[in-house]
């Protein structure tokens, strides 16, 4: 058989199709929606690069701009809320370019009837998060929609930052032999949020790992910026989606080692109980970095010296592979592919 299998993509049915939940789940369907509607309509070189932010030249250096929408349910979860997430997520998107985040904007779409006390709680924690990160929210917008037309509150944040001179991280820059490092335990955020979902409440001490990573990134850039190929924060779709994205953009594969991937026992247990793969579960305070082999040791050491990277671990290497497979040596002694999530991650029946 022909092994150069190219996955068939059903075309978006613009005439009769409707947005369903899989279009927001971080998998292929979401990529298809973005490519088929937004990239098509907004087409330009920055969007085509496929990053979560875009760097562009301005007098005096290179600037980064990003925007993101937050629609998390429940709005409050162990370790944070939708507001802290909106601050951390956007700062992290800027930081993944190796950039220093400077300013944020915040836009609120609020459902009629939403308690003001909850709104204040969200806003105050957002303010605290931005002050702690040293990145002020300098502009915003507020809209209210009729009851039933939003799920409590939606927040969009945009951010800008500056790239240090000489640093140019690109999504297609990974090379065979490069090291892959993850900054800490995976899946904490996704499990913390799921533990508070309606109908699914279970007892766990896990709290979201939501955090602003620009300080950690600054330490990494200082220790080995010239060796860093690219960085990503593995949010929706988890590190499985992140590694697959990088593999396809850089046109290579990855070999990773399951035993090397940091995973809290409580997260592993919750995933087992729910029938989920922790590699697909979302993170909000972790990053994946691809580093040239000669810089791996220095970058890893710098990460481990930072509080947000204390559990950083080298989990594998990039390899030449036309199929762009992410392969994993399992802790059991076998091998498997680590694939993108198909549609939304749904609990299995048995």
């Amino acid at each position: 058989m022909n092994v150069a299998i190219k996955a068939y993509k059903r075309k978006l049915d613009i005439t009769n199709g409707r947005v369903d939940l899989s279009h927001g789940a971080g998998g292929r369907a979401m990529g298809q929606l973005i490519e088929g509607i937004f990239h098509k309509a907004f087409d330009n070189e920055w969007l085509r690069a496929g990053n979560d932010q875009s760097a562009f030249s301005v007098p005096g250096g290179r600037m980064v701009m990003t925007t993101d929408g937050y629609v998390v349910s429940p709005l409050f979860f162990p370790g944070g809320n939708i507001g802290t997430l909106a601050v951390h997520g956007t700062i992290n998107d800027i930081a993944m370019a190796g950039a220093v985040p400077l300013y944020l904007s915040a836009s609120f779409i609020i459902e009629e009837g939403f308690p003001l006390a909850d709104l204040e709680r969200i806003a105050e924690s957002m303010g605290a998060a931005s002050r702690e990160a040293g990145v002020p929210i300098i502009t915003g917008d507020t809209k209210v929609v009729e009851r039933g037309k939003a799920d409590g509150v939606f927040i969009s944040t945009a951010g800008v930052g500056m790239v240090p001179a000489g640093l140019d991280l690109r999504s297609d820059a990974a090379r065979p032999g490069d090291a892959v490092i993850v900054s800490g335990s995976i899946g904490d955020h996704g499990v913390a949020v799921m533990s508070k979902r309606e109908n699914l409440e279970f007892d766990t001490d896990i709290v979201s790992d939501s955090a602003a990573l620009h300080g950690l990134v600054a330490a990494m850039v200082e220790a080995g910026g010239q060796h860093i190929r690219l960085m990503r924060d593995p949010t929706r779709g988890g590190i499985a989606a992140t590694l697959n994205e990088i593999a396809h953009q850089s046109k290579l594969g990855f070999h990773i080692d399951e035993e090397a991937i940091p995973l809290k026992p409580e997260v592993a247990a919750a995933c087992e109980f729910l029938g989920l793969d922790p590699l697909n579960v979302a993170n909000e305070g972790k990053l994946v970095v691809v580093v040239a082999p000669e810089g791996a040791e220095a970058v890893l050491a710098a990460m481990q010296a930072h509080p947000l990277g204390a559990e950083a671990a080298l989990i594998g290497h990039a390899v030449a592979d036309d199929h762009c497979f992410v392969q994993m040596a399992t802790s059991f002694g076998g091998g498997r592919i680590v694939d993108w999530l198909s549609g939304e991650q749904l609990p299995r029946i048995c």
Binding site: M1, V3, I5, K6, A7, Y8, K9, R10, R18, V19, D20, L21, S22, G27, R28, A29, N199, L200, P265, A268, A269, E272, D277, H323, F325, Q327, A329, T330, S331, F332, G333, G334, G335, R336, I337, D339, S342, G343, E344, L346, P347, R348, I349, C350
Partner: protein
């Protein structure tokens, strides 16, 4: 994780793999079918095939309740859910299962149907109690494992005198399907490869015990080892099957002694027997009509039977004619032998039953194992050169 990590010990696995390698007769091959999707998932997720000798081949059977649900039943559920008075409650992994013309419950939900994902039958009951003006239908699916909770929901609905709760019953039975794999009109048409033994489903046997497989082992002279879903359970079951084959035995053995007994959970069996009866025939996606392969509500509970209450009809709907699921489920073909595999049929765009749920043979191979095709082809290429 206590009680989990013990069953994923790579060193122990290698030790058992060495015992298998020492036990197998190099002059012959061993074909073992794991019936249950849970085993298929474990084999793929932990790369178990890498630990087995080349002459021991695992064949992935039809044991995934989501996969074997026929298109017509999905179409019927969608048609019901589109009725304005209906709230359809279902387990999560049913949401994506394709019906006719690319439809699914997920798409029906996006089109306005009131479809709610639940995690247990009791969640559906709660919705029926909280919203007395809605007709709440629980889309029941699964093997013997998930049938007792449906029976309990029915008991609770009767006790609480809930007039707006009913069940769309799609519960299926394992022993009948295993028999169908070896003996059915399709087998004569497709041919079948030799199956030397079966790994029996663990969770099913916690309910029905190991006894129902005694007749099967005797009648078809095939060994059955009921095994747990952890990778060490599976590899130990393979070793037990190899020993049985070498000894010329065909017995039912129980690897999963930590949860399974010969007679199973009689209380659960009685609960099921009180509310359900056998269907004479029921279509399994990929296997066709399976005699006595499913359950329906007893006539005395007709008011809780959504099929009767809403005069549901199951439309005749067929899989893509190029789909090879029937042959793959019987081990006659491998996923990569199907022309649709990885082209028009992927987990994102499933065409046939084996690709529908992550536990299906094709989905498991696509998600976890397709790199092996590359290695195999490269080896073949080098051999030709």
């Amino acid at each position: 994780m206590k009680y989990i990590d013990e069953y994923r010990d790579g060193r122990l696995a290698k030790d058992i793999a060495r015992q298998i390698a020492a036990a197998v007769d190099p002059a012959r091959s061993y074909y073992f079918m794991e019936f249950c999707g849970g085993h298929t998932h474990a084999i793929s997720r932990y790369g178990l095939e890498d630990l087995l000798p080349a002459n021991v081949r695992m064949i992935h059977g039809p044991g995934c309740p989501v996969c074997v649900l026929p298109i017509g039943r999905i179409d019927a559920a969608i048609a019901l859910a589109m009725r304005p008075e209906i709230t359809l409650c279902t387990y999560g992994d049913l949401m994506r299962v394709p019906g006719s013309n690319g439809s699914s419950l997920l798409k029906a939900k996006a089109a306005g149907a009131d479809i709610r994902m639940v995690y247990s039958t009791l969640d559906a009951l709660k919705i029926a109690e909280a919203e007395p003006n809605r007709e709440v239908v629980f889309f029941a699916i699964g093997f013997e494992t998930t049938t007792p909770p449906t029976a309990l929901a029915l008991r609770a609905a009767i006790a609480r005198q809930l007039p707006n709760f009913s069940i769309f019953c799609n519960h299926v039975l394992t022993p009948a399907a295993i028999q169908n794999i070896l003996e059915s009109p399709d087998v004569r048409k497709l041919g079948t490869i030799k199956i030397d033994g079966f790994i029996g489903p663990a969770h099913v046997s916690t309910v029905i015990g190991t006894e129902p497989y005694e007749f099967f082992a005797e009648e078809f002279q095939k060994p059955v080892v009921v095994a747990g879903f952890e990778p060490l359970d599976v590899i130990q079951a393979v070793l037990m099957l190899v020993h049985q084959v070498n000894d010329g035995r065909h017995e039912v053995e129980n690897q999963y002694i930590r949860a399974v007994t010969a007679l199973g959970n009689e209380k659960a069996q009685n609960e099921v027997a009180r509310f359900f009866e056998l269907r004479e025939s029921f279509e399994w996606r990929g296997l066709g009509e399976v005699p006595y392969g499913a359950l329906r509500l007893r006539p005395e509970y007709a008011q809780y039977d959504a099929e009767k209450r809403f005069s549901m009809v199951t439309p005749a709907a067929k899989d893509n004619p190029a789909c090879e699921c029937g042959a793959i489920l019987r081990g006659v073909k491998k996923p990569a032998d199907c022309k649709l595999f990885g082209t028009v049929c992927t987990p994102d765009t499933p065409m046939g039953s084996c690709m529908v749920s992550s536990e299906g043979a094709c989905a498991a191979h696509w998600t976890y194992g397709r790199f092996r095709e590359k290695a195999r082809t490269q080896d073949e290429g080098r051999a030709v050169a």
